[in-house]
Subunit: 201 residues, 2 copies
């Protein structure tokens, strides 16, 4: 069509789940069918980029201060589910099977892809454990070599809690298909995986 | 998640083809996974909104002056295919079956939805015909009551060309399924529809 149109289409195609045709359809929608929506979308994108940041406690999405889950007193603040990414947390929440809180590592250890411990959100987790506020850690990391390596590193480097109470560490397990992550599991699978968690050491 | 996140997700859900999950996935992608892409997308949206306008001759998308098709001397400038919307033109182009030019009405007559002749891009088409540059008009409007009404209005109001040469008016026909528009037809159907066009009066 035109250079600016094609540039927009190219940007849209890089979004997850959008191919050539769907990007074209959205670009036409925003430029021809509903041009009033384009500035609204730009505004929503800019507002989200300007205000959404990481929760200082758990790494989830937040605006001011703690995220909605860390700030919710009805959640079990002593039970912490460790996930790789924010979408994993979203999938867990969708299952409705979990009433504790989270810790988002924002990745997993991968020597091949050059992801080292200092690249992940480990320090904040170790502080939470050292402060004594964590009763149980549920490791909901991917069921593959890198997820396993991340679990291993995490348990090896877990500090002793200030109050001397041992932290129970479990690994989400039953039901998660081999080679797959939390993101793609359905709610029933996630529920059984939570129920079937086993002690990890 | 957060208010700004949910507002962005809501905006994304209004785009064609995106549901709740795909909008959530794209919002997380832009805010967590690839935050560098968000300003690039905003820039592409703003650049397209600022530069893309209607071709003064045919109503297709253009930047400065005529659109790429009107400006292309290898296209048959005397054969004009009349379509309802820009996506219809895109579908025709995709079929590769057409070497003429276009005229985009930006809708079709609909007394029920309050679309009157003055709301559509008729005047520019009548000027093109009156100027004598049009040898054939191919009416590629939807195969339904409103498309038919639009064809009827168009042929009734067609001016006499300045050079006195009669304009051959055809209606795209063979192959287009009843009740459907050009947008959803596949390339083979569009090709046969072009080949099977018939005289319209």
């Amino acid at each position: 069509m035109t250079p600016a149109f094609e540039k927009l289409q190219k940007q849209l195609r890089q979004l997850p789940g959008l191919g050539f045709r769907s990007a074209e359809r959205i670009a036409l929608h925003l430029l021809v069918e509903k041009p009033a929506r384009l500035p609204e979308l730009v505004e929503a994108l800019q507002a989200a980029a300007a205000t959404v940041r990481r929760c200082p406690r758990c790494g989830n999405l937040a605006e001011d201060g703690l995220c909605a889950i860390c700030a919710d007193e009805r959640r079990e603040q002593g039970v912490v589910c460790v996930v790789e990414h924010v979408p994993d947390l979203v999938a867990m929440e969708r299952s409705g099977a979990y009433r504790g809180v989270y810790h988002v590592l924002h990745g997993r250890l991968s020597p091949i892809q050059g992801v080292r411990p200092e690249d992940l959100n480990f320090e904040a987790l170790f502080s939470r454990v050292a402060d004594g506020g964590v009763r149980e850690l549920i490791l909901a990391l991917s069921n593959d070599v890198e997820g396993e390596a991340t679990c291993h590193y995490l348990t090896q480097h877990l500090p002793a809690p200030a109050n001397g109470v041992e932290v129970k560490t479990t690994r989400i397990g039953f039901g998660l298909p081999s080679g797959g992550g939390v993101l793609y599991a359905d709610s029933v699978t996630l529920k059984s995986a939570l129920d079937g968690r086993r002690h990890y050491e």
